[in-house]
Amino acid sequence: MTENSLNPASWVDKYADYLFNYAVVRVSDAEIAKDLVQETFLAALKSAKNYQGAASERTWLIAILKRKVIDYYRKINSKKGKAEVRINYSSQSDSAGDWLEENVADPFSTLENDQIENAELGQAIQECISKLPKKQSAVFVMKTIRGLSTEDICNELGINPSNLWVMVHRARTNLMGCLNENWFKL
């Protein structure tokens, strides 16, 4: 395997969306997520000399972002008490005196997993998109994620509609194959 090296100029193009998605599902605020990604890049630049090439660029960046997300939660919970979880009896009169057991999450419910699963799914899709050829991913992202109209995309990229549909088709078939391997067979 070749030695991993850092190439800051290509970071934004290659990893910004992936990192952004990672952050956004964890802090559930696009603005904050954007700032975190930005901070991650800057922190990465600062500590670039410590990078030993053991992990891939992306793994390394994600590791930094993970710390940034933790730092963010530490900051908003800086007062000790805020981090504590308090469970009180419900103060509403009709349920006053009910036991705590009734406030506990239903152990047989699987609904809570949905959100976690969706976050992981987003990660998997983003990873597959980043593996696509550049043109295909550009078209797919514009069409599916940003929801632009066919006309706008054609104008922006200077291609004709039938060209666009061919690209969408190739992107979708590639994604199907990729997700089939990385998502359904986990």
């Binding site: 800051p8 100029a9 970071w11 934004v12 193009d13 910004a16 969306d17 952004f20 998605n21 956004v24 696009a30 997520a33 954007k34 990604v37 930005q38 890049f41 800057l42 630049l45 600062k46 969706n118 799914l121 987003g122 899709i125 983003q126 992202v141 069409k143 599916t144 994620i145 940003r146 066919t150 039938s162 549909w165 969408v168 088709h169 979708r172 994604l175 199907m176 997700l179 998502w183």
Partner: protein, 75 residues
């Protein structure tokens, strides 16, 4: 009668709700006797559902440009 190639294009258009009624009818008839396209259509729909469920986010080009500038200033 439409070819499988055309059918797949219509199928892709359908995922973005851009297929016309006539196209959809042609596609429906094609699916009746073409197993391969039926399978493709099923998978394609699944992909659309997955993408919706994942609620993907992306940064806009301007924001990326801003980030690039900042990285260059700091490197």
């Amino acid at each position: 009668m439409i070819s499988c190639e055309k059918a797949s294009t219509i199928c892709n258009k359908k995922q973005y709700k851009e297929a016309t009624l006539l196209e959809q009818i042609k596609f429906g008839i094609h699916l009746l006797f073409c197993k391969a396209c039926a399978a493709f259509s099923k998978k394609n729909k699944k992909l659309t559902i997955l993408c919706d469920k994942a609620n993907l986010h992306n940064l806009s080009e301007q924001e990326k440009e801003k980030m690039k500038v900042k990285i260059e200033l700091n490197s």
